[in-house]
């Protein structure tokens, strides 16, 4: 893959140029949290490419929490605007890969997701400073972009070292080639070192891997084990709404004038009504069954179909949990 250097002085200029043909979202660090904000000329430009993933889930860029997916009786097409996601982290690339598998790579294709996905250029950034909540290393995710992105950048002393992954990434760079320089020898060496350090740090945070047969262990866990894991859960659902790999949704119809809009909203399998059928039968009426289902979904079922976990190790569920339930602890114990 080709490497380029975007010197520190050119970063703002680059973003400004990108903003001419689409919305650019980039990370800032504020009150101890990372957020993705939209670039505008009048705002102070103080990006941070080193801190961990954003506090908020980023799935709404492709899969909004509320989305009109069809109109009745006459349908109309969704048109998405071009957007650049600049500086998102590798764990969120895993999330996007999960959605790609569900919405594009499995028939039938979801036209809304596909439209937004195709209009989005992803420029991910390395994660040199993993935090206590991070466990990407336990679920097969590297702390830097290695695919699913168009370009990945690493913060080095001279600026951003850019690695190109797709032809769209190549096009972006060649369009603004006056802003880029040869990667040289120093920057790649620096990148190698920061990556090694990040992995060492992750190894310290999560010294124990999950067991090889974790998928089967979850299947066999049994209600008692899960009861114990779930005992402090207050059913706030923060873990599922914050999760960048959860893909459950619900369709509901609303009248709008003479027409009807079919609206898709995020859903979560922890809801008591989630699996209820007409007449009232409910296969997962107890919380323990629903709690267990989440683990089965992410580490067993999805893995069986796609060959990787529907979990990115981002730790948002733990950070957001009212009961401070850490899924690592549950998985380690199995």
């Amino acid at each position: 893959m080709r490497l380029y250097l975007l010197p520190s002085n050119n970063i703002k200029n680059f973003v400004k140029k990108l903003a001419q043909d689409g919305s650019v979202y980039y990370p800032i660090f504020e009150d101890d949290k990372t957020h993705l904000i939209k670039f505008t000329e009048d705002k102070e430009f103080e990006p941070n490419f080193e801190k961990i993933r954003t506090a908020e889930n980023i799935k709404h860029f492709f899969f909004p929490s509320r989305d009109v997916v069809a109109k009745f009786p006459k349908d109309s097409k969704v048109k998405a605007e071009k957007q650049y996601l600049f500086g998102i982290k590798s764990c969120d690339l895993r999330g996007i890969e999960v959605y790609d598998r569900i919405f594009i790579k499995t028939e039938p294709v979801d036209p809304m997701y596909k439209e937004r996905r195709e209009k989005t250029i992803i420029i991910s950034a390395d994660c040199p400073e993993p935090a206590d909540c991070c466990f990407c290393n336990l679920v097969g995710v590297s702390p830097y972009g290695a695919g699913t992105c168009d370009i990945n950048v690493t913060k080095v002393s001279a600026g951003l070292l850019c690695e190109v992954f797709t032809k769209f990434g190549e096009q972006v760079i060649s369009k603004h080639k006056d802003l880029f320089e040869e990667a040289g020898k120093e920057a790649p060496k620096e990148r190698e070192k920061t990556r090694k350090d990040a992995l060492t740090e992750l190894g310290k945070i999560n010294s124990k891997p999950f067991k090889e047969d974790i998928a089967e262990r979850i299947e066999k866990a049994g209600k008692e084990t899960m009861q114990d894991a779930q005992k402090d859960c207050v059913e706030c659902f923060a873990c599922l709404y914050a999760c960048p790999t959860c893909y459950c949704f619900l369709l509901s119809d609303y009248k709008k004038g003479k027409n009807i809009e079919r609206v898709r909203t995020w859903d979560a399998c922890y809801y008591a009504a989630y699996a209820r059928v007409g007449g009232g039968a409910n296969p997962r009426s107890d919380l323990v069954e629903r709690f267990w289902n989440r683990f089965l979904c992410k580490f067993n079922y999805f893995n069986e179909y796609e060959g990787f976990f529907a979990c990115s190790g981002c730790g948002r569920c733990y950070r957001g949990c009212s009961a401070k339930i850490d899924i690592r602890e549950i998985l380690w114990k199995l």
Binding site: V69, P73, F249, L251, D253, R264, G278, P283
Partner: protein
């Protein structure tokens, strides 16, 4: 090629509504909005109320699509407010078709309970379409009372078809009922088929599914020959929203009919 929108239901008018029982009616549409095969289902939209999954009860070879539906809640309630000429929407077909060609030359054993007989009717009519291909088609159907039997006008005609054997029961009889009385398993004491080869099909309420399946397994049907209609909560119908999950199966995609072989290790698969 431009991708079609899998969430968009095709608008179609109701041609006729035939009341079957006090809370079950058959809704006949003005044509076939989608081509389906026996075993597949569709999502039916009641405009402004929502949509729910139903298996057509008509033959896949018919000109008009029909659904026989029990009023149980929001969407079905909305449907029962509609009249002849009103618009509904249909999405599909979804799920897998029955492997009908595997059943050639065999005896076929169909067990329905209550409104659960409706989805089996499209299978039955598809079999009747080529009745000579099958050794014999057995129907065992039970409802709560004689007034709860669906298709009671059609059943006498079906009984006359060469190669069809129908037996009925009701949980509670009345002054006019001359047939069997008791839950549907009373029709399963004697199963006159080659248990090694015959496929069985079951659809009905959860408890009925449980006891009938138990009985069929005891009787000696091959586990992979017991086809079970799984009623699960559904939203998208296309294997994306996750609602219909049973173990590793998406019932909307891998089903809606699964075999006992598929689900026997799942705790309470019919709940």
């Amino acid at each position: 090629m431009e991708a079609v929108n899998p969430y968009y239901p095709i608008p179609i008018k109701i041609k006729e509504i035939i009341p079957e029982t006090h809370n079950i009616s058959t809704f006949i549409l003005e044509g076939m909005p989608i081509q389906f095969k026996a075993g597949q289902f569709a999502e039916l939209t009641v405009p402004g109320v929502g949509e729910a999954p139903f298996t057509p009860s008509s033959s896949p070879y018919a000109d008009d699509m029909e659904f026989t539906i029990m009023k149980v809640g929001r969407v079905t309630g909305g449907l029962f407010e509609l009249k002849k000429g009103d618009l509904v929407g249909v999405r599909g077909p979804f799920g897998k078709a029955y492997p009908l060609k595997d059943f050639k030359g065999k005896e076929i054993f169909i067990v329905g309970g209550g409104v659960g007989f409706a989805p089996l009717r499209s299978l039955f009519l598809a079999l009747v379409h080529n009745i000579k291909d099958y050794k014999k088609v057995y129907i065992r159907y039970g409802a709560r009372t004689p007034d709860d039997l669906v298709y009671w006008k059609l059943i006498p005609k079906w009984q006359k078809i060469n190669g069809v054997d129908i037996d009925l029961t009701v949980d509670i009889g009345d002054d006019f009922w001359e047939g069997k009385v008791g839950v549907v398993t009373v029709l399963l004491d004697d199963i006159p088929v080659d248990l090694d080869k015959a496929p069985a099909f079951v659809c009905g309420p959860p408890l009925m599914m449980k006891f009938v399946t138990q009985r069929l397994v005891e009787a000696g049907f091959q586990h992979r020959n017991i086809y079970l209609s799984m009623e699960k909560n559904m939203s998208c119908g296309i294997g994306k929203c996750n609602h219909c999950r049973v173990g590793k199966f998406y019932v909307c995609k891998d089903g809606p009919v699964l075999t006992w072989d598929d689900v026997k290790d799942i705790e309470e698969p019919f709940l």
